[in-house]
């Protein structure tokens, strides 16, 4: 009787396992097809679309050779993307944690009103104010500059929300202890609180960094000189109806995704913490 019941259970497990294996295969198929395509001549991709077929007789590493030959702007885009991602991540982390600390640790007049403002930004798609924001960036002479891309978003609502939640969980004794020891209000933040926030920085840093690395529309609008383009903009520019750039497009895409996947595998815990930060824990 018990043995039979057990076999039913393992039968259920097997079905569930099968379901997730199928789901995983479907999820990984686009990755596989783009990787296989990087070994095929670009013209063929253009004519045939992406598939899972690989004709070994025309298999070629030319795309990779071309990528590393330095004939294209690819690594300029790469460098620009790295720079923007680094600047945006560091600045956003710093500013948002500073602001989040203010919301978490103090009671002050209009606190709820200001926090409501944070939530409102979270609710409004940025594309709505894109036109006047662009005009403003021109007026401020930030056009075609990394600062035009980064500055409007360094007080990100998500990070502020996250840091506020995180810091609310810290005991206020730290602050009192700091005050007793003669720290200024800012000294408490910089000397006592910042070092305590490393896990929060890791989680949010990955979240911000990933979004910045993949950011497309706003950088495309702000940046226009050829030597300042980022990876997504550069790759997008390769998609022409003539398909003469598909070699670089495909192999370049593979190389833009690989570092993110490696980072994800190394720091999966922080990725997950960053993604689920949106007030879920409540």
């Amino acid at each position: 009787m018990i043995a039979r019941k057990k076999s039913v259970f393992s039968g259920q497990s097997a079905i569930m396992l099968l379901l997730f294996i199928v789901m995983s295969i479907i999820t990984l198929t686009p990755f596989a097809s783009i990787f296989l395509a990087s070994l095929r001549p670009g013209k063929e991709i253009m004519r045939q679309g992406l598939g899972l077929n690989l004709d070994t007789s025309v298999m070629t590493f030319n795309n990779y050779i071309y990528l590393f030959s330095g004939e294209s702007d690819y690594f300029i885009w790469y460098k620009n993307s790295l720079l923007i991602t680094a600047v945006q991540t560091v600045l956003t982390l710093f500013v948002s944690s500073f602001v989040g600390y203010g919301f978490a640790m103090y009671d002050f007049k209009f606190k709820n009103f200001f926090f409501m403002c944070v939530l409102i930004i979270m609710m409004v798609p940025m594309e709505i104010i894109m036109l006047p924001l662009f005009q403003l960036i021109i007026k401020l002479r930030l056009i075609d500059s990394i600062w035009g891309v980064v500055l409007p978003f360094i007080a990100g609502p998500m990070p502020i929300f996250f840091f506020r939640q995180y810091l609310s969980g810290l005991p206020k004794d730290y602050i009192d202890a700091g005050r007793v020891d003669g720290c200024t209000e800012y000294g408490i933040f910089f000397r006592i609180i910042l070092p305590l926030m490393k896990p929060a920085f890791a989680a949010m840093g990955i979240f911000i960094g990933m979004n910045s690395w993949n950011n497309f529309l706003w950088p495309m609008i702000v940046l226009n000189s050829k030597e300042k383009l980022t990876l997504p903009i550069g790759l997008n520019a390769l998609i022409t109806p003539y398909g003469n750039n598909y070699d670089l497009l495909i192999v370049g895409s593979v190389f833009s995704v690989i570092p993110v996947i490696i980072l994800f595998m190394l720091f999966q815990r922080y990725f997950i913490a960053g993604m689920t930060a949106g007030g879920i824990k409540g």
């Binding site: 997730f20 999820t27 679309g49 609710m123 798609p125 594309e127 403003l136 502020i160 007030g279």
Partner: protein, 302 residues
């Protein structure tokens, strides 16, 4: 002298410090959000050509009563509804299955299903564009051919549903793993005693799911619903990438933001573009406030 010292000490007082802490936000908020938002409102009543601005009253809004705008709004709404219909029940069930004791390899599958979220919309978009290609050799058509189905023109084909199917597939591919993460983290906060006592009371798996899991995951569901409404109404780049630009046959992939982009950027009709932005702003804010009121979205954190 004394006054100077007092002035110097002001930012260090405990009463002023919180305002200093949140001041970067206030500056950014006023400069890069409130100011452009007000500009949007003002410009939506103007005709703006470089160097020349005229007040045109409600003209821009009157112009919105056209077939393209209806198409854009209906596409955005349909897209929002179908993505919500898939991206809430599916991850809910999958995460409950993943979380069950009978499941092996939970962390592995969680990671695999999350991978697409790491890919930029540019790379993901053109990959799906080539997978959904109309050629018989493109992946989806070549799979269908195994079942004897003729090649389908998925993107901007004669039937509108094929375009929605491609958009929905792309969206599900990218966000399924993320929503599973949300639900999994919500499941951790449900006390196991609840399930144990339900088991003692003789509740089956379905009853436990219906009377414990679903109600207790409600905050997560409301959160996913909110970001899905936001993402659905603001959808633009997915369509932009699938159609290799903002032009799709018969407006099959036209969305509200796509229409704003077409008028505001491509045709430099900034006043008209602003009117569209304003309407979308009103739609999103009212939906969010309704959610806030009836679903208590932000009450949890307090």
């Amino acid at each position: 002298m004394n006054f100077k010292r007092w002035l110097k000490s002001v930012p260090y007082s405990q009463r002023i410090a919180p305002y200093v802490f949140i001041s970067p936000f206030i500056i950014i908020f006023l400069l890069f959000f409130v100011y452009p938002a007000i500009s949007t409102v003002i410009m939506s009543f103007q005709e703006v050509v470089p160097g020349h601005v005229t007040f045109v009253g409600l003209e821009n809004f009157r112009n919105l009563f056209n077939a393209d705008f209806y198409k854009a709004v209906s596409n955005s709404l349909i897209y929002t509804v179908i993505t919500i219909a898939v991206l809430i029940p599916l991850p809910l069930v999958l995460s409950v299955l993943l979380d069950s004791k009978k499941m092996v390899g939970k962390n592995f599958f969680r990671a695999v299903l999350f991978l697409p979220a790491l890919v930029s919309v540019v790379v993901g978009g053109f990959t799906f564009r080539l997978i959904f290609g109309e050629m018989p050799t493109a992946l989806l058509n070549s799979i269908l051919a195994l079942f004897g189905v003729q090649p389908v023109k998925w993107l901007g084909g004669p039937a509108q549903w094929t375009t929605f199917f491609a958009l929905l597939t792309l969206c599900t591919w990218r966000w399924l793993g993320v929503n599973i993460l949300y639900y999994l983290s919500g499941l951790q906060s449900i006390p196991t005693e609840l399930y144990e006592s339900a088991y003692i009371d003789g509740a089956g798996a379905w009853q436990k799911f219906k009377y414990i899991t679903i109600p207790l995951l409600r905050p997560v569901t409301v959160y996913i619903l909110t970001i899905s409404i936001y993402g659905g109404l603001a959808m633009f780049l997915e369509s932009f990438m699938l159609f290799n630009g903002n032009r799709s046959p018969g407006g099959a992939g036209l969305t509200i933001i796509g229409y704003l982009y077409r008028l505001g950027w491509e045709q430099a009709n900034i006043g008209y573009g602003s009117a569209i932005g304003l309407i979308l702003l009103v739609i999103t804010l009212s939906i969010n406030f309704i959610m806030l009121k009836y679903a208590g979205l932000f009450k949890r954190g307090e």
